[in-house]
């Protein structure tokens, strides 16, 4: 299983839990599953070219993807995916 941590505001907006588990095999599959579960989620996370939006920081099991990486590539069993977006209020 894969664990994915979604940004809190996305979870709020799409009325979903912020932490989900899936059987996704790769990042594309993960995005498809999320979008199937809550239509619009993929559009929130990705540009039309399939890359993560610039303001998101994506970590897979402790390794950060390059900014605006394509949402593709394998996910190992047990992977921990964190999709973060910074806030700045103080």
């Amino acid at each position: 299983m894969i664990t994915v941590h979604l940004p809190i505001d996305l979870a709020e907006e799409f009325k979903t839990a912020a932490v989900l588990t899936t059987d996704a095999q790769d990042l594309r599959d993960l995005m498809d599953q999320l979008d199937h579960m809550r239509p619009g989620v993929a559009g929130w996370l990705l540009e039309a070219d399939g890359r993560f939006r610039q303001h998101l920081s994506v970590f897979i099991s402790g390794r950060r993807l390059e900014t605006r990486s394509p949402a593709s590539g394998p996910l190992n069993e047990g992977a921990d995916v964190w999709i973060l977006r910074a806030v700045s209020g103080g």
Partner: protein, 386 residues
């Protein structure tokens, strides 16, 4: 921090004041002496800084610097607990320092009535042992981070928005803010507290957490602890914790840093870019101002779609607007006449930009209202309550 033999001796008054924390393992008499000899710089005497500074002062951190160039406003008071109604108009550093001195006369409070900048940050940081960041904008966050790395100071960073809090602890050599967020968000993609709101007590939680983490560092607790990033979701009452390691490719704290002096952080974060860019997460979402939207609505048959939640919509919306929360836009896209363009509206123009982009990708002509419903109200246009 001072060496053991130069640490101050406690007076009997201090023994009484701090006895409840001195009995804790890891604190004791020596720990309390260390705290009294410590110097912490708190960036921002706002919501986070209020809570953090209050607990640091109460714990007996000997020197607290408060940096802020702002004055107290009425709208600050629901979350900035260092300030009272009578302080409106006063410098936050003055009002905050008075409160902290009254709380604990052992603490020397140093007021830095100025905004932190690339010109003053390094010199300021050198006089302190640890930095607590309670700033309220992205340029300041990157500035504080870079200055902390360059001066080798531990940094306890936090940020808040709506019902969410984020906290990160950066010890020298174990990662920094840029290892977490290497690029600032494009202007307008992340709203601020004025646009999106903030639950005041969340600031209390996060500022208190900053004080906890700062005190642990000052006391030498958890020395081996790796960097960490924590998210607090007040609505679900959940905490999430992600381990964070130094990024060897980080431009500031990596193996081969490419940034070794402070830069222009407003330029780095794109502050001052055009209003349209400031509201649109992508070039494909066409943004219109309130005035332009008014013209559009006069001249064309346009459907207004408000993508906020029903409770937000009920509190006020554009006349004739239809409420279709963002997650239901696919239903609209399946039924709406493709020849009728759509003006997408939300609170501040962020969600609507995504919505407009989504509708455009499905063949509709769609615009996003720059500044959202807040901007519409501010421009004096008509609006209605459900």
């Amino acid at each position: 921090m001072k060496h053991e033999h130069t640490l101050p001796q406690l007076t009997s008054q201090q023994l009484g004041r701090y006895q409840r924390q001195m009995v804790l393992p890891g604190v004791g008499l020596d720990g309390q002496r260390r705290l009294l000899a410590s110097r912490v710089l708190v960036i921002g005497a706002g919501a986070l800084g209020s809570a953090a500074a209050t607990y640091l002062a109460a714990a007996g951190v000997g020197t607290l610097g408060l940096v802020d160039g702002d004055t107290v406003e009425l709208s600050n008071l629901h979350r900035q607990i260092l300030h009272d109604t009578d302080d409106v108009g006063a410098a936050k550093t003055t009002s905050g320092a008075e409160r902290l001195r009254a709380l604990n006369p052992d603490v020397e409070v140093i007021e830095h009535f100025a905004f932190l900048s690339s010109a003053n940050a390094l010199e300021l940081f050198r006089h302190y042992d640890l930095i607590v960041n309670g700033s309220d904008n992205f340029p300041a966050r990157y500035l504080v981070n870079d200055a902390a790395v360059m001066t080798g100071k531990p940094l306890v960073d936090a940020a808040i928005l709506r019902f969410e809090g984020q906290l990160a602890v950066f010890r020298p050599g174990r990662g920094c803010y840029r290892c977490l967020f290497p690029a600032p968000p494009p202007p307008g993609t992340v709203p601020d507290c004025a646009q999106a709101g903030v639950f005041g007590a969340v600031a209390g939680v996060m500022g208190s957490m900053q004080a906890v983490e700062a005190l642990k560092i000052l006391l030498g607790m958890d020395e081996a602890e790796p960097g960490r990033f924590m998210i607090y979701d007040a609505l679900s009452s959940n905490w999430y914790r992600m381990p964070l390691n130094r990024d060897a490719a980080c431009p500031v704290c990596g193996d081969s840093p490419t940034i070794s002096t402070l830069i222009d952080y407003e330029a780095f974060c794109g502050v001052g870019e055009s209003a349209i860019a400031a509201q649109a997460p992508s070039a494909r979402a066409r943004a219109v101002s309130a005035t332009e939207a008014q013209d559009l609505l006069k001249d064309r048959n346009v459907t207004i779609v408000d993508v906020r939640d029903p409770h937000e919509f009920a509190a006020g919306h554009l006349p004739g607007a239809r409420n279709v929360p963002l997650e239901q836009l696919d239903q609209l896209a399946a039924t709406h006449d493709p020849h009728v363009p759509i003006l997408v509206v939300c609170a501040a123009g962020v969600r609507s930009a995504y919505g407009a982009e989504y509708l455009e990708s499905r063949g509709y002509t769609a615009w996003t209202l720059s500044g959202g419903f807040s901007g519409w109200q501010a421009s004096g246009q008509d609006w209605t309550i459900a």
